[in-house]
């Protein structure tokens, strides 16, 4: 009796389409990912319906749940200028290397005295740096000086960028080159602390403030 032969098929599967797809996705995520620089503080903001994306050129004050205040300025050139002005005001000296490092840093929250030591730390250990945040009481209002110098520096760099854009024949909007003021407060921090930061901005006559929020569903225009 002849045996029925089952055709022996190779147990391998053609993986090419899967690999194609996997690499496509890898490429997409690689290009789409934007890496955030490590920040010394993580805050969880409240949510709002606002759909305004955070502006590129900004001066940001961060408030953590304990009420410590951190500061950040996005433009590296403006950072250098602001640091030089602050250094001469508080008589703290920085060397070239420290200034370069500072320009590329992100959020920081320490007094001017602590700043050189803080800059010298390698990136990972900055998180563990013991500090009380940037002082903002009436006797030693470093935050106010940071904001005012940063604003001036950011306006200067913004002005040159504006002129450059104009020379290239573009029609730039002057407002895009002005720094925006942002408050990133943790949802769990006490509002009175945020109010103090807001008051510092208002004392400098900067009244248009932005609060960082995560987005939520807008009942007015459901898409």
């Amino acid at each position: 009796m002849p045996k029925i032969k089952i055709p022996k098929s190779s147990p391998s599967i053609d993986m090419t389409p899967m690999v194609d797809l996997a690499f496509l996705l890898v490429t997409f995520f690689m290009l789409a990912a934007s890496f955030r620089p490590s920040e010394p503080v993580t805050v969880e903001t409240a949510s709002s319906i606002s759909d305004k994306v955070i502006p590129e050129n900004n001066i940001m004050v961060t408030l953590d749940p304990d009420g410590k205040v951190y500061f950040n300025l996005t433009n590296p050139e403006a950072r250098k200028e602001a640091l030089n002005n602050m250094a001469s005001l508080y008589k703290v000296s920085f060397n070239e290397e420290q200034i370069e490092k500072f320009a590329l840093m992100s959020t920081f929250g320490c007094t001017m005295k602590e700043l050189p030591a803080y800059i010298d730390l390698p990136g990972d250990s900055r998180k563990e740096f013991k500090t009380e945040g940037i002082p903002l009481d009436s006797l030693d209002n470093q935050l106010k000086n940071w904001i005012s110098y940063s604003q001036m520096a950011a306006l200067n760099t913004g002005k040159t960028a504006y002129e450059e854009a104009k020379q290239k024949g573009l029609a730039p909007d002057a407002d895009d080159f002005k720094p925006k003021f942002i408050i990133r407060a943790d949802g769990k921090s006490v509002y009175k602390k945020a109010e103090k930061v807001i008051d510092v901005f208002r004392e400098l006559n900067l009244n248009n403030l932005n609060f960082v929020t995560s987005s939520e569903f807008n009942p007015n225009n459901p898409n």
Binding site: S10, M15, S48, S50, G187, S189, I198, E203, L209, S214
Partner: protein, 212 residues
């Protein structure tokens, strides 16, 4: 693994020396492993939703004392915020020792949910919201341009009939409460929002309410 090498040809061995036909397939498993590893890494690390910002314009700080003859706030609502609690009263504040027509001001408690705060604001700001609805219909029927709509909505928000909101916070209120409130105020299309310091009499009233 995924590929079992098949023996090439074979069977007819007539003395001819053939070059061994080796399979042209490459074992792709390690590559796939790596691809998926990278994929997982990028999926998990990438942050898609960039944080958003909510703008709030504060009134300029003026050193001169507030004008006593300033027009009285009509059609206003005042929110008193404490930790995860919210109270409100409408119109002017009348302390217990100087009651108004309807006696001293009483606080009403509400919550941050859609049926609480959002409803209160929608009811009180119906003047703007009803007109806005009419305009939205016109825009949809192509009887009104978008730009006109935005401009008229801004004008509508500034009208005396539109609701105005005062926000007062005590020492225990959280930033989250404040932002949630401002958010609801924006949902209700209210144009005038003023965060102002709390009066001592209001604080007293709030504290007695909180103790209940």
């Amino acid at each position: 693994m995924a590929e079992i090498a098949e023996s090439g040809g074979g069977g007819h061995d007539k003395g001819k020396k053939r070059a061994k036909k080796s399979s042209t397939r490459v074992d792709m498993t390690p590559m796939v492993d790596l691809a998926f590893l990278l994929l997982t890494f990028f999926v998990l690390t990438s942050t898609f939703s960039k944080p958003k910002v909510m703008s709030l314009a504060y009134p300029a700080k003026i050193d001169e004392p507030v004008d006593k003859n300033a027009p009285k706030l009509n059609n206003g609502i005042t929110f008193l915020l404490s930790k995860d609690k919210i109270f409100y009263y409408t119109g002017e504040f009348y302390p217990a020792d100087r009651p108004g027509k309807d006696g001293p001001t009483k606080l009403t408690e509400t919550n941050f949910s859609a049926s609480g705060l959002r409803k209160v604001l929608a009811d009180l700001n119906s003047y703007v919201l009803l007109r806005k609805e009419g305009m939205v219909k016109k825009v949809k029927a192509k009887q009104m341009a978008d730009t006109t709509y935005t401009r008229e909505l801004e004008q509508l928000k500034g009208k005396p009939e539109a609701l105005k909101v005062l926000v007062k916070t005590d020492d225990k209120a959280l930033c989250k409460n404040f932002i949630d409130l401002i958010d609801e105020v924006k949902i209700a299309e209210i144009g005038v929002i003023a965060p102002v310091p709390m009066l001592p009499a209001e604080l007293k009233l709030l504290e007695t309410q909180l103790k209940k």
